[in-house]
């Protein structure tokens, strides 16, 4: 199965996903999968594609931003809102170069996501390896699941 990634030039500057939105996306994706026979990604169609996962303690956001310098990325977190912006610039190599293909996306981007729970902005960690940005966002203490002991 060959999947070609395309970036439709929709002017979507942020994507939020409330619980409802998430259900809606999942439904759409299932519908798409059923009709096209293709396991389509449920991407928002904007750069960069990101995956969000969670465990008991943290949210993890991973975004595919190949070939960028950490200084070109700007990340901010307020309460349960995380935004990632930056500008991907592909320098023109030589004066006399003639291009045969130019497919790699470039330009400014800005994505903001609203997480289901608040995070502790002080302890957010960002790492950049092999073109993937990984944000580790610790959930705020008050929203962490707690084991409640039943007293007899």
């Amino acid at each position: 199965m060959l999947v070609r990634r395309v970036w439709p030039s929709r002017p979507t500057f942020e994507s939020s996903f409330s619980d409802y939105d998430q259900v809606r996306r999942e439904m759409l994706r299932l519908l798409e999968t059923a009709t096209s026979g293709d396991a389509g990604e449920q991407g928002a169609g904007v750069f960069p594609p990101m995956n969000i996962t969670q465990d008991d303690d943290n949210f993890y956001i991973r975004a595919e931003v190949p070939g960028m310098k950490p200084s070109e990325l700007s990340i901010s977190a307020v309460r349960n809102r995380v935004s990632l912006s930056g500008k991907r610039e592909i320098p023109r190599e030589h004066e006399r170069a003639s291009y045969h293909r130019k497919e790699r996306p470039e330009g400014a981007f800005n994505r903001a996501v609203t997480l289901a729970a608040e995070v502790d902005p002080e302890r957010v960690e960002a790492r950049y390896t092999d073109g993937i940005l990984t944000l580790t966002l610790p959930k705020a203490e008050q929203v962490k699941p707690r084991q409640i002991a039943v007293r007899t």
């Binding site: 594609p49 465990d55 991973r62 045969h100 993937i132």
Partner: protein, 136 residues
């Protein structure tokens, strides 16, 4: 002019799909976005392969067909559950046909921050030469 030059690096995407060797790994196969440009002495190919480590990248050249294969290993740890999934770990594969004018032993590859840079030097005789006309 453009068509003349394009002959040096040709995409063999169509034929690849038709005669694609079956993947032994499950998961999607992506076609990485590439930039290709050339100057008088070298053809440069840049490919976006986020998540691919140098050890998981294979560049194979046989019978003038250049195959780029990059594997992405799943970055997530065991206990994480999905909240939003816009991309899946898969394999980046793309093939190009190189012409005879590439100095194949001198091909140089470098992978930095998920971007592959492949320098394909042209053989000496294929480089354009300026011929000065002498007056008698």
């Amino acid at each position: 002019m453009a068509t003349e030059a394009t002959r040096d690096v040709q995409k063999t995407q169509q034929s690849t799909v038709a005669a694609a060797p079956e993947q032994t790994r499950t998961g999607p196969v992506y076609s990485p976005a590439v930039d290709i440009f050339e100057n008088d002495s070298v053809i440069t190919l840049l490919a976006d392969m986020p998540g691919v480590k140098a050890s998981d990248l294979a560049i194979d050249l046989r019978e003038n067909v250049l195959t780029l294969t990059g594997r992405v290993t799943n970055a997530r740890a065991g206990k994480e559950s999905n909240v939003l999934s816009e991309y899946r770990p898969g394999t980046f594969v793309r093939q190009f046909t190189l012409s005879e004018t590439i100095d194949q032993p001198k091909i140089d590859a470098q992978l930095t921050d998920g971007v592959l840079r492949l320098e394909l030097p042209k053989v000496e005789k294929a480089r354009p030469r300026q011929i000065t006309v002498r007056s008698a």
